[in-house]
Structures are given as structure tokens and as C-alpha cells.
Symmetry: C2
Amino acid sequence: MPEPLGTLTGPTPASPFANGIAPAGWRRPVRPRVGHIEFLNCVPLFWGLARTGSLLDLDLRRDSPDGLSDALTAGELDIGPISLMEFLKHAGELVALPDIAVGSDGPVMSCLIVSKVPLDQLDGAPVALGSTSRTSVRLAALLLSDLVGVRPRYFAAPPDLDVMLQDAPAAVVIGDVALRAALADAQRLRLHVYDLGEMWQEWTGLPFVFAVFAARRDFVAREPQTVQRVHQAFLASRDLSLREVDAVCEQAARWEPFDAAILRRYYMTALDFSLGPRQLAGIAEFARRVGGPDAGFPPDVEVRLLSTP
Amino acid sequence: MPEPLGTLTGPTPASPFANGIAPAGWRRPVRPRVGHIEFLNCVPLFWGLARTGSLLDLDLRRDSPDGLSDALTAGELDIGPISLMEFLKHAGELVALPDIAVGSDGPVMSCLIVSKVPLDQLDGAPVALGSTSRTSVRLAALLLSDLVGVRPRYFAAPPDLDVMLQDAPAAVVIGDVALRAALADAQRLRLHVYDLGEMWQEWTGLPFVFAVFAARRDFVAREPQTVQRVHQAFLASRDLSLREVDAVCEQAARWEPFDAAILRRYYMTALDFSLGPRQLAGIAEFARRVGGPDAGFPPDVEVRLLSTP
């Protein structure tokens, strides 16, 4: 059985109580409020929670990435996954959990520029940005301007590749749409596919981090042990998922538009679920290149990392 | 790994896809929407879901008993726990899952009449009814009128024993308030404690069922295999919880006002998580005694039980 994930917020210790029953005035301890994204790339981070029993010590709240990001920065959530751009904008209020993230150290498969023409022909051309992405669209714009040397005209669009490419020669897509584009649509539609993780890695020599797990600083100050336990629970969940990756992929394939073999390749060869010195260097390099008033954080934004015992 | 809990609602089989990717027009299969009550008496029914991994194949929706009951009868939930009174009122739309329920075959510990005087002195007296209870208050009124032979004047009150007993000589309480009343307050306040499960069992010789698990009939017709799988998942969860009851109680005691030993006694000697012929006879007997226009169902209300292979 896992260690308890919460600490008491009430005035009395939970147990043992005298005669086994809490005294009058006892307040029910509050489980940590933890964000849950049902995106395919997060499945291995959450899957293990439902095997270790840790889930029972969490108040898990499912929402869209935007909803969770808003809740975390508004203090309605204590801990959760958050896209890198949103994390950097709110770095003053948040602490990143070490050793865990969603990124890639090379091709990521699910964050792409899909284009009818080579990228260097996109100067001044319209480019559709998938409206559900925060970090990938910023990374794509950075790569197009500073690596390729073109300045397209961007517009937001719902993440439907066929529709996006009706109005523009190129589109930035993530998630299912991107995986499908890379694996099937590109050939069918004779499109060029550019992998944002691969481009970044070849350009900078560094991994890219698309999302981190963060805790609110005030929550860390109030319940440091709870944060450590939630952190350990996510590390254990991730490690169990990677050890039992065939089971993860078989279960996920029941609900996703990809079979287990494709998911296995995605989880084991594309995604990087770690956050170590190289990943932190990748974050710092991204912040240095895109930071400024428009981005909502300075180029030298300080990323605070949770201290672990 | 557990069997898949959902069936497809989309037009194409999920997997294997040609080349591993769903074709255009594929619709994401929908997980069954299953209700989750965080009441102490339901912990053993849900605990195992977070150990077997079944949780990942469910769209689990947490709410109050009233909220879940409304959602189930409105078709916004497919399967869930529902109090016996609400189930009987909506028996025409629902099917009970066999072999699983929340009841007792004797003292239940958590559904009580707490009184300053013997019950036969309550004729015409005010009696406070805990406002979160549906079935227990109806059972208490039945026992007082037909077994004890008194007709108190009932009024609804928030479930706070001290407040309830300021305005009345007796109160009907459930859940934490009742457990605490039975185990601690009764002695302290020199109160009489009457256990509704025990009174019913001594009166009728039958177990009492406070809540069942029900599926919507239209959902059973549409996705019979899904319902079977969810049913199996709950049975497996309950069985695992009872096998590992010490772990369940230790984990639950972190968040509840009772220590593990009290929870163990509650789960292993008070509650009855089965629904077999004797429990069904208890339901029929209760319906026969309280059914009528006021109850919202006839005395001979038909209880449909899910057919299992």
C-alpha cells in the first residue's frame, strides 16, 4: 500500500483517536486537488495511479489543459500538469516537480508543422495554428522565424487538418490530429511533415519540454509533505506504466484511434517523461529565445524546482 | 489486466485498424458514465477499482447521492449507486445489478434513531429527519408507525445531532453522524440508540438494502456487454476490498473520523454488500409495506434484475 498522500489541515491528528473516533471539532482532512488531462501523451503518467491505489488519496479533477491551467493559477487546484508556456507565464507562483514532464529528445510525433510546400516558401503565407495548442504553436513560430527565416501570417483554427489546409498551405497540429497526420494523412495528401521536437533538437542539441507538472508555491509552503507524496506517486505511476507498457497500450488502444503498437512506439521512442538537467536546459533555452513582453515572461525567467529529500 | 469495460458506439471497430490508425469518420468510443459516491459505506465498492486498473475504462462521475440519482434518472449517467427509495420510484427505467448493494442483515451501525426517551413515548412528538437521507427516514417512519405504534411529527433538519436534539426528543441520522452517535455521543449524552437495520431484521427476519447499483434500461439495451463488464468490475472491486480489508481501512482512516479498527468492524460485521434472494425479499417486503401514492411506487413494484450470463 502506498504512503498517505495528504497531510492534515484540521486542528487534530487524524488517527489514532481516543477510542477510535475523532473528537468534536474535528475537521475532515482535505485531499490534494490534482489536475488530470485525458490527453494521449499523459496516459502513462496517470495510468499507474489506478494500479497502485494512490488515486484514492487524491482529489483528481479532470479538465481540458486550459481549464486546469486556469484552475492551477487561480488557486483552485494544488498540483497538475501545465503546458510549458503557461508554466513560464506563472513561474512566480509555481514550482515544477523534478524528474517528470512531457517532452521529447528528438522527434515527438505529435507536435508538427504539416505543409503543402517546403517551409522556406512560407514567408508571408497564411499558416493555421491548432487552437488547442499553447506551447507547440509558439515553438513552431520560433522555429519558422529564427531557424527557417520566414514570417508567415498566423491564424487560429479548429484542429481539423483538412479544414486548416483549405485556407492555408501549412498548419501547426498537435495530439491525435498530428499523430494521424504523420502516420497516414501525409502520404495520402502528399504533405511535408516537420516534427517540432526533431527540429528543436537538431537546432539546439537539447530536448524540448511541452508540459511540466507544477505545484502552487503557497501549497508547497503549507503542505510540503503532501507535495512530496504526490510527486512520489506520479513518479511511481510513470515507472509502473513504462514497465508495463504493453498493458498500458492495450488498454489505451480501446479508446484511442491508434493500435497498441503505434502507442508503444509513441510512448517508448518519441515521448520523454523525464525532467533532468538537459530538459531544464531546454526550458531555459526556449525561455531565452521567446521571452519578452509578448510572451508574458522574461528571457531569464526563474524556474523553481521542488526540493526533494 | 482487466477486460475492456466499454463497447464501441462508433461506426467502425476500434482495433485492429488497417495500418494501426483509425480511418476517417472514426468516432472515439464512449466510456460508460458511472456514478461515484464518496460515502464511507461505499468505499469497499470503489476501492478495488483503483487497484485493478478498471477505473481507466470508466468515466467515473463523483457527486452527492441526490446528484447521482437525478443524473441517472435523467439519462446523464449510465450506471451508479442509488438509494433504495429513489430506485423504487424509478424502477421502470432501471435495472439493478445482482450480487452487489449496500445493506445490512442485522445492525447497520450507521442508520439510527437516536432518542432521549424510549420510542413508544414519541407519539405526537417532534422527530428530526436528517436531510441527507432518503431511505433511512422512510424506514424509520415505517418502524415507528407499524412496529412501535407511534406517529411523531417529522421535520427535516441538517444532520447535526446536537442541533437536531435541541428541537426534538429524537432524530433519525445516517452516515458519520450516526456512527459517531452510536459509538460515542450516546453514552456522553445518555441517549437511546435504535439501529434501523437491527429493528427491521428482528421485525421481518430479512436483511435491509439501503442502496443498490442500477443501470438505465435503455443503456442495458444499447450496450449489454458494457453493463456486464462494469458489473464484473464492481464485483471484483468489492471482493478485492474485502480480501484486503485491512489496507482499505488503513487508507480510509486517513480521511475519515474513525480509526481503522472501527472501519473494519463497520465493513465486516455491520454492512452487507450482497444482493441475493434474501436481500431481494427484503426489498419486496419494504416496497409492500411503504408502497403507495405517497411513496411514488406501488406496493408490488417490479424490481428488474440484470440477467447475467
